[in-house]
Amino acid sequence: MSVTTPSEVDHDDTPAGREEPGSRPPTVSRRRRRLRPYTLAVPAVLLCVGILYPFFVGVSYTVFNFSAANPNPAFVGLRNFAEITTSAPFWNSVRVTGSFAVTATVVETVLGVGVALLLYRGGILGKVLERALIVPLMVAPILAAIMWKLLLLPEVGWVRPLLAGLGVTDYTGTDSPLWAFIWSVVVDAWIYTPFVAIIALAGLRSLPASPFEAAAVDGAGWWFTFRRLTLPMLWPYVFVAVIFRLMDSLKMFDIIFGLTTGGPGDSTTTLQINAYLESISYARYSRGITYMVVLWAAVYLISMVLVGYLRRLQNRTAGEAT
């Protein structure tokens, strides 16, 4: 017969005050108690391994010359990085990726805040639109891209007759690099402006009323109130949306690929599209993953800077509020 000594019994889990009179506290052995922190960590460790293992495998591919044409690859060190960073297609895709991410984020932020301000005014129409606003977000981006591609096709789409009605007769869809870029931004904005608007609207609704009441009493105009009160107080909320949109836009693949396949020429070929072409279409796996690792590093560094700025912004706003 085993005897449990008082020192081996864990009473910590059940505060004495909550014990039912006459009930026996559960006993936990010392061994189980010591193992508990580790068992609690098991799901987190498994999750980390699940995430990090493919990541490290991917990173390791970058130092080999693995491709369909070369199924038994050799170690090549940093040659893949050297080759792609000295190639014109890489720098072209860096330029396209950066231009697209900045333009789309700015457009969506401005439109999103504008839409949020309109919806904040309330009314029946506002309430209906608020619910309708999330519809584009429910469409898979690749489907939205294909839908827009059909709309934009001059021979069959609706855009050409609409523009013709406005007097535009030389519409050629996504045939020119400039218009391919503009339409890519338009489709991205169509899908994601509601995302920014929803976050901005939530921010607007959480702003304290008293500063606005004071401004109204002092006779401040709409523009003054917006510039000096609304925008500074709303900015930490909007900036969260900016971070999400910028990071997502830097990784842009589906919308542009569905709409233009990266063309005409290479005018809308982003880093992700180059990664896809190298990895899947050309079966040069190591080069494709090198593109992805470079993009990952860029997104990681930029997100660190932006999150640091957001933290300072939130601290400053909290300081101003107190």
């Binding site: 044409a69 190639s87 001059p154 021979e155 069959v156 996504t174 045939d175 079966a283």
Partner: protein, 479 residues
């Protein structure tokens, strides 16, 4: 006791632990890479599984087995599905068919083959894919199976296939070497020759005849573009061809006309490929082609795949289509243009040649299949005269890859209502073959070529664009 703080090392203990952890993770990952397919691929075991098949051939030998097929969503697959009960009755083998649309079909095939898991026993592919999937050993050589009388039924008759189609599935995997050899990586199942389809009613009303040379084709397209709408044919443009940024833009009409003019994509010099799409003649042709599309093609051309190009012909928006003959054939039923289409081989070369590039939908066996014998039983049935005759006459399995099917009265009767279709087929079939130089980076080369063509269409200088293309391609195709 020394109370002074210990001098800090460059790395704290926690940092060292982190580095050790990272190192451990990396070293653990390295040997596991092979488990993920890295450096793997199906091993070349030196012999063929076909050698193990002995005794008399028996269709029922694999009764009760299941063959998994990865297929493109295509009329050829529809005909197979309509006929598959016949196969199961004959062999006792069940087919499990997974279909994917063409837009992402080859991504699926690439991932499946690269995994090396043998999830599918057989699949559809094109000749150009052999150049990418063959070298890593993803494809089973079918010749040992064909040549083994115990594994192949007596009526299989490989000689019945059009020779150029059979040759398209053979290659020794040496860049620049011609197709052919003693290994058969795929069997042709259905194919497309690239010719001109046109609106006969438009031609009749405008008093036009099909172009016999390239310059006439350009003028003809311009004439249709300017005169069709004023003659009651709506907003019709001159000629539809593919224009999207992908390899498939180059291989149909463009490559056919390029080849008829005597032009080559690469020259082989001292075992290295030298891009030749920037010779003066090639530059002149490319500039003319882009100009033809700009002047007489559709707006939004850079989005045009085979689907948009052929749909425009069917919808009455295009007067001509220079593309796969079956793409236009399918537009001759249940469309605005139904019954009004006619076919012509297209412009001849200066020497009168009708060299034509082709696309072949073929069937191949996954070298990682764990079910190779049953898979071959399926392949030989799907490639048999029995199935192909059924598919070509009861389904939409056109063009026929077997001479016996293509020359059968039933097949000819079926195609007879399509004005000039059979005559065109018969004129080009002997000159129809893969016109590209076989090389392992085909998709990179042709996608880049399509991007350059788009740039030239957009107004870029043809010479500098093609010079830049050739310069950038040269190291990549020889890597």
């Amino acid at each position: 006791m020394n109370s002074e703080p210990r001098p800090r090392l460059g790395l704290a203990r926690r940092d060292l632990l982190r580095i050790a952890g990272l190192g451990t993770a990396l070293s653990a990952a390295a040997p596991l890479l092979s488990a993920c397919g890295f450096g793997g691929g199906p091993a070349d075991e030196g012999g063929s599984a076909a050698d193990a098949v002995t005794g008399a051939f028996d269709w029922k030998k694999h009764d009760g087995k299941t063959v998994k097929l990865l297929m493109n969503k295509h009329p050829y697959t529809d005909a197979l599905k309509a006929h598959q009960a016949e196969f199961t009755t004959k062999t006792g083998i069940t087919l499990q068919i997974d279909e994917f649309p063409e837009s992402n079909y080859f991504d699926k095939v690439t991932l499946e083959l690269q995994s090396g898991q043998g999830g599918y026993d057989a699949f559809m592919l094109g000749a150009y894919m052999v150049w990418q999937y063959g070298p890593p050993g993803y494809l089973e050589d079918l010749n040992p199976w064909i040549n083994n009388a115990s594994a192949t039924h007596a009526e299989f008759e490989p000689a019945d296939f059009y020779p150029n189609l059979l040759t398209a599935g053979q290659w020794d995997f040496t860049n620049g070497n011609p197709l052919g050899g003693d290994r058969q990586w795929m069997l042709p199942w259905g194919f497309e020759s690239n010719v001109v389809a046109y609106r006969k009613d438009v031609f009749d009303k405008l008093g036009l005849t099909p172009a016999e040379d390239f310059d006439s084709l350009i003028e003809l397209a311009k004439t249709i573009d300017t005169k069709a709408s004023s003659n009651g044919f709506g907003d019709m443009y001159g000629i539809a061809v593919r224009g999207s940024k992908e390899w498939a833009t180059i291989h149909p009409g463009f490559m056919t006309m390029y080849t008829r003019l005597g032009l080559k994509d690469f020259a082989v010099e001292n075992g290295r490929l030298k891009p030749t799409m920037n010779t003066p003649e090639a530059i002149a042709f490319t500039d003319k082609w882009a100009g033809m599309v700009r002047d007489s093609g559709p707006a939004g051309w850079t989005s045009y795949t085979w689907y948009q190009a052929s749909s425009d012909l069917g919808a009455g928006k295009a007067g001509m289509l220079f593309d796969a003959d079956i793409a236009s054939y399918f537009q001759n039923e249940k469309t605005t243009a139904a019954g009004k289409l006619a076919w012509h081989p297209g412009p001849k070369g200066p020497d009168g040649n009708l060299n034509t590039n082709l696309w072949i939908w073929s069937l191949a066996m996954n070298s990682a299949s764990k079910n190779k014998e049953a898979a071959w039983w399926f392949l030989q049935w799907a490639e048999s005269k029995e199935h192909l005759q059924y598919a070509a006459t009861q389904g939409q399995h056109i063009d026929a890859v077997r001479r016996s099917v293509a020359t059968s009265a039933e097949y000819k009767d079926r195609l007879a209502p399509n004005t000039g279709f059979l005559e065109t087929f018969e004129q080009v079939i002997d000159s129809t073959k893969i016109q590209f130089t076989p090389q392992k980076n085909f998709f990179d080369a042709t996608t880049s070529w399509a991007a350059a063509l788009q740039d030239i269409y957009g107004g870029a200088d043809a010479k500098s664009t093609l010079d830049e293309l050739a310069t950038s391609l040269e190291p990549r195709v020889n890597d």
